[in-house]
Subunit: 454 residues, 2 copies
């Protein structure tokens, strides 16, 4: 809502920039105090000048400034700003944050910058952050916060609510109350709403339900998202190998993960490495895209080299030079369709009970045969019209038909095979599929023409 | 967790199928009672036979059976099963569900089937469901549940907790308590955790914070997801034009929406209409894909017709027949990269404060020029080697270079332009971009060759 108020108002950004330059702290505090940190983060990103950004962060109250850093779209940029602040100020902001956000920010710093800020923190907090930094960034351990509300199963609902009140002051948005045994092992969860509406004398152990799902620290973030989505969980507990409750991951982290994974999936399918940020520089883009284009140059050249063998056919029927790229392009398009559907099926697949890979491949080949017959007929008419040779129509029909069946097969089979071998199918599939369809398109068209027409 | 236990156990599916056939209800109830409805839904989908599926639903307790239907991946299949049950049994299951899930299920039925089930419901419930069915399926009204906990702002925290206990028994997972005035207009929210840990005598009106965000009933679901992700909201209130609180949307609905939108984005980019279900039949796939392929046949033929003009050049330098598809393919690949990055930028863009479309277009052109120079040099070496004509190298270099710049421009400009005109850029962009790069690739290579070599 607050964002809409300023939508498109470059004037507001300019005014903020000017007030930062003139050091008008009261105006800044007053104008921005009511904004959500996510909106202040947008504003900060729009300033587009490190000096102004640092100035704005300095002018804001520590709580708002720290949340703003945590809500920035590019964690790397947030890290750069944190590093640009004095270590003492940086440490002050870090202390305001929940530990998972603090760890994420600190993780963006160079080791030397990191040490400077950690040195300014109380020893205990610094240790806790260092522990969190040991987990892989894209694992459950890297996502979790250790801030949670847990109560022993022997308490009554009423005692538990007192305990929740006590612990809850320090914990944001806890939603679920975790129930543990004396050794800290998770025995179940009680939704806060159930606790509030339950009989006050009931033992928490009796209210607790076994956790629907839990994860170990090294579980991949994509699996965490899949589990939380599958079971509609607002938070998921993270356990040690011994079952001791270490932390929790909340739905908002998962929304961020899903957004990031979605970007990754679409970009990878298009041959953009996930390291390229959507708002990255041109140099980052070149680094991220050139290797893929180079690989495609090699495969496209290999596929096209088939053409060199069939010079005679093209000399005789020049319409083939026109039909070649058309049939290859249609194979590529149909292959991309099959590939996209198959990739989504693989991603969404949480069917623990069955395996329908071959059914899917058969379906894609069938679709290719039907579409190929329809498009092949059209292309054949085109070919006969151009070349005035009826047999060329047969060649075109057969080539298109077969190429679309190949496209369906490759589009469904290649990603399934790759994912069986543990390779991310989004990255490698498309180059395989396109090489297949190019190669088959050229070879079928020109080979059949040579066989039937020369 | 429960799903993992049975992972890959087709044997379990077979046993369930057998017990359903033999009518062994006690075994089914006992074996499935501990499973999460999402897992029972997976099992149900694995049975793959309507008679068995209906038999299983009949054998389950109504609460589990209804949740299972609501958790099925394809709402259409869930609707078919609901229709296959006796109307009385169908109504029993519908009554067990929260109203938004009930409405979603009922919406899948044919009007005549719908009437049969609504007739079995208490009049008031039937009316409520009919009201919900009036909202568009992909709008906030279509997503919201009217089951929520709202309290008047004049109550104390302690009174409010009593009221929450009373209302909360009928409402699942309410998380947030909404505070309204005497006319039912939303004045703010109190997270349940704040209410529990607050001073019992404090007035709720003082605890309430203005809602971070709210939506009207006709807001698109994608915008709902964006707002909830942006502000990390566990639920968002849905208001009438007068500000009266009508319902709420919870994060789990948004997780489902995000998954669906992600599928839609990837499939559309690949030219698969979103109506095609990932698990659809081959006939649905043909209907969804053939129009796109047909459109591409037309555009690919138009682009390739350029080739027909340059017969003389290809006759003289047959290497051109090999280079043509290579340069067009590289343009297509580079265009797809720019397109994917731009589409994600447009989707993620929640920058209310600035507008960087032209910066992005310039960046993509710059990336194209650099990648084009690198790949053009390689392709030139290839061309000279094949044709033994140094000038052909110059032709290839210039053609590749220019085509990749065109690809960068088209990949960034076309989707931006389409989205300015309110057209979904994911659907239409790729055909434009590929036609551009094909056309330019053929024309530049053959035109330059004719000019410089003949």
């Amino acid at each position: 809502m607050s964002a809409d108020k300023h939508k498109g108002q470059q004037a507001f950004v300019d005014e903020v920039a000017q007030r930062v330059t003139s050091g008008d702290r009261p105006w800044l505090e007053e104008s921005l105090a009511e904004l959500h940190p996510s909106d202040v983060a947008d504003l900060l990103e729009s300033l587009d000048d490190t000096e102004l950004q640092v100035g704005l962060l300095r002018a804001l109250p520590a709580e708002l400034a720290s949340e703003t850093l945590a809500e920035m779209e590019e964690a790397e940029d947030a890290g750069d700003l944190l590093a640009a602040l004095a270590p003492q100020k940086g440490a002050e902001l870090i202390q305001e944050l929940q530990d998972d956000d603090a760890a994420d920010l600190i993780a963006e710093l160079e080791p030397s910058e990191r040490e400077l800020i950690l040195a300014e923190l109380p020893a205990e907090e610094a240790e806790e952050l260092k522990d969190l930094l040991l987990y892989g960034e894209e694992t459950a351990g890297g996502l979790m916060t250790t801030a949670l509300v847990s109560i022993e199963s022997s308490l009554t609902a009423d005692q538990a609510i007192q305990e929740v009140r006590r612990q809850g002051r320090a914990v944001e948005d806890f939603y679920t109350v975790f129930v543990v045994d004396r050794e800290g092992r998770l025995v179940g969860t009680v939704p806060l709403d159930d606790l509030v509406i339950s009989d006050p004398d009931k033992a928490v152990g009796d209210l607790a339900e076994p956790p629907v799902a839990s994860v170990l620290t090294d579980v991949d973030q994509e699996e965490v998202g899949r589990l939380m989505g599958h079971y509609n969980l607002v938070s998921i507990p993270v356990l040690s190998d011994q079952g001791v409750l270490l932390g929790r991951i909340t739905f908002d982290d998962v929304l961020d993960v899903m957004e990031a994974e979605q970007t990754e999936d679409i970009l990878r399918l298009a041959g953009v490495q996930d390291e390229e940020e959507v708002r990255g520089t041109w140099a980052e883009s070149v680094r991220s895209r050139l290797p893929w284009l180079f690989l495609n140059l090699v495969t496209a050249s290999l596929a096209a080299s088939v053409i060199l063998v069939f010079e005679e056919a093209i000399d005789r029927y020049f319409a083939l030079a026109f039909l070649m790229p058309v049939i290859a392009a249609m194979g590529g398009n149909a292959g991309t369709q099959s590939l996209a559907v198959t990739l989504r099926r693989l991603t969404l697949s949480d069917h623990a009970f069955s395996d329908d890979a071959w059914t899917a491949v058969r379906k894609e080949v069938a679709v290719g045969l039907i579409n190929g017959a329809a498009l092949g007929t059209l292309a054949a008419v085109l070919g006969v019209t151009l070349a005035g040779e009826p047999l060329l129509g047969v060649v075109v029909l057969l080539a298109m038909w077969a190429n679309l069946a190949v496209a369906g097969f490759a589009g469904a089979f290649v990603p399934t095979l790759l994912s069986r071998f543990g390779v991310d199918p989004a990255v490698a599939s498309s180059v395989f599929v396109h090489t297949f369809t190019d190669l088959c398109g050229f070879f079928l068209l020109l080979g059949l023409a040579t066989k039937l027409l020369l």
